[in-house]
Amino acid sequence: MFRIDVDNISGKTESLYVYGEKSILTELEDHNVLINHSCRQGHCGSCILKLLSGEVLHQDTLIPLSKGEILACSSAPITDIKISLRD
């Protein structure tokens, strides 16, 4: 099991415990932490988050990402992670 530390997303700062089998977007939704998103396929870039610590498994995406950015719909944790909204 992995821990996702949510750092002030939609006013929520909390820790979620997940198996890493679902995307971070789905995990957040399952725990009622709502973030912007749209295509759910890694194309549109609406769900970009900042990965503050830890590692994720990331699928290919059409969106160029800067260092430390991930798409919530296309990544799943492979260690404990900490995430926040992009500045």
Binding site: T26, E29, C44, Q59
Partner: protein
């Protein structure tokens, strides 16, 4: 001024706006203003599929066992999807190709439209499989008032843009008489019509379609009409690309990264655009009432579908940097994401043939041996 299919004018496509600049002559992709469109084209090509690859033979048996009100929901929903893809299979080409100015965007528009024609072909594949006389289902589309109303709302912005663009390309700016009607063709107004049309397309592909997907997937959650759902899953995968393209175009227009006029137009049209979302959601709510007019089905009714409509409208509006219309809520149909998320899109036959592969499926079958309430009394 008249349109030329291969203009002799040499222009630097890196400096052209997406639309209403110089027309494209050489289809070249060595240098690109917006690489995103080539990425979309490549992704769409990698998604290529043919309806015949999906076995829908079991759906005929399933369909015959549906209750009459469920058959009405299934067929009306399919007829609506046929209408939407009939529009999308031709209109990006007709409306947008004559005014596009970037080769990579021209290429994307053609690829986008082509993929919609695969969707149209797949509906015929489904209908041939489930009913004895497919013609009746298709003929009904043009006789159903509720569907024709939808047709009007999804095509009116396209029609207006096409009429004014044709006048502009033939006669240039100014007042022209077309079919005894005086039309004032002005480039700024045309750009406005384009901006509004792109919103109308985004609403069609990102909201209207998704409401219909919810109905298709609701059947498969009950392990019926799974061949149909598998096709709709592939269609949904394509539509996620398409909605990305209109979202991308609208966002760069609004941010002033393309044509400076468009940034101004975006500010001027904000109220009109919000009104379009309002109108579309009301139309879809009316459609939900029509779908379920003869009764609900297990797992879905008009109220839940309307809640999903409000949820997905908010999602799309936020992605376009608009203030959401409805109160923030979580997805009332969380199971739909199993069908929409990228990691779940597979075309393996066992996914529909062996139902244990389905996640969160509702088992609504009840055998005599399953009942142990024999001595239960109220």
């Amino acid at each position: 001024m008249s349109f030329s299919i291969f203009s002799k004018k040499v222009s630097d496509t890196l400096k052209q706006p997406m639309f209403f600049g110089d027309t494209v002559n050489v289809a070249r992709f060595d240098k690109q203003k917006f690489e995103m469109f080539e990425k979309l084209t490549e992704k769409q090509l990698s998604f290529f599929w043919r309806p015949e690859e999906i076995d829908v033979s079991k759906d005929k048996m399933d369909f015959s066992k549906l209750l009459p009100n469920e058959q009405h929901i299934f067929l009306s929903n399919l007829q609506y999807q046929i209408l939407l893809d009939s529009v999308q299979g031709r209109s990006p080409n007709i409306a947008l190709l004559p005014i596009v100015s970037l080769p990579e965007l021209e290429n994307w528009i053609e690829t986008w439209s082509f993929s919609e024609t695969i969707h149209s072909r797949s509906y015929t594949h489904i209908i041939r499989a489930i009913v004895n006389d497919p013609g009746v289902i298709f003929d009904e589309i043009m006789q159903t008032e509720q569907i024709l109303e939808r047709a009007e709302s999804v095509s009116k912005h396209y029609d207006e843009l096409i009429m004014c663009t044709q006048a502009y390309l033939l006669h240039g700016q100014g007042k022209h008489t077309i079919a005894d009607k005086e039309v004032d063709v002005d480039l700024y107004c045309l750009k406005k019509k384009l901006y509004i049309t792109l919103f109308s397309v985004n609403i069609l592909e990102a909201i209207r379609f998704y409401v219909s997907f919810a109905c298709s997937f609701a059947f498969a959650e009950r392990k019926v009409m799974e061949g149909n759902a598998k096709i709709i899953k592939l269609i949904a995968r394509d539509e996620a690309l398409h909605l990305t393209s209109t979202q991308y175009m609208l966002n760069i227009m609004r941010e002033g990264k393309d044509d400076p006029d468009m940034a101004k137009i975006a500010m001027e049209c904000e109220d009109e655009v919000i009104e379009m979302f309002k109108e579309a959601t009301q139309q879809e709510k009316d459609w939900a009432d029509y779908l379920f007019s003869d009764g609900s089905m297990i797992g879905l009714n008009a109220d839940i579908l309307k809640q999903y409509l409000e949820y997905i409208t908010n999602v799309r509006m936020k992605a376009l940097n608009l203030k959401p219309l409805f109160d923030e809520c979580s997805n009332p149909l969380p199971w739909i994401n199993h069908w929409l998320d990228s990691d779940n899109v597979q075309v393996a036959p066992q996914e529909t043939e062996i139902t244990s592969y389905l996640v969160s499926a509702i088992d609504n079958t009840l055998e005599e041996s399953d009942t142990d309430f024999g001595d239960f009394k109220l």
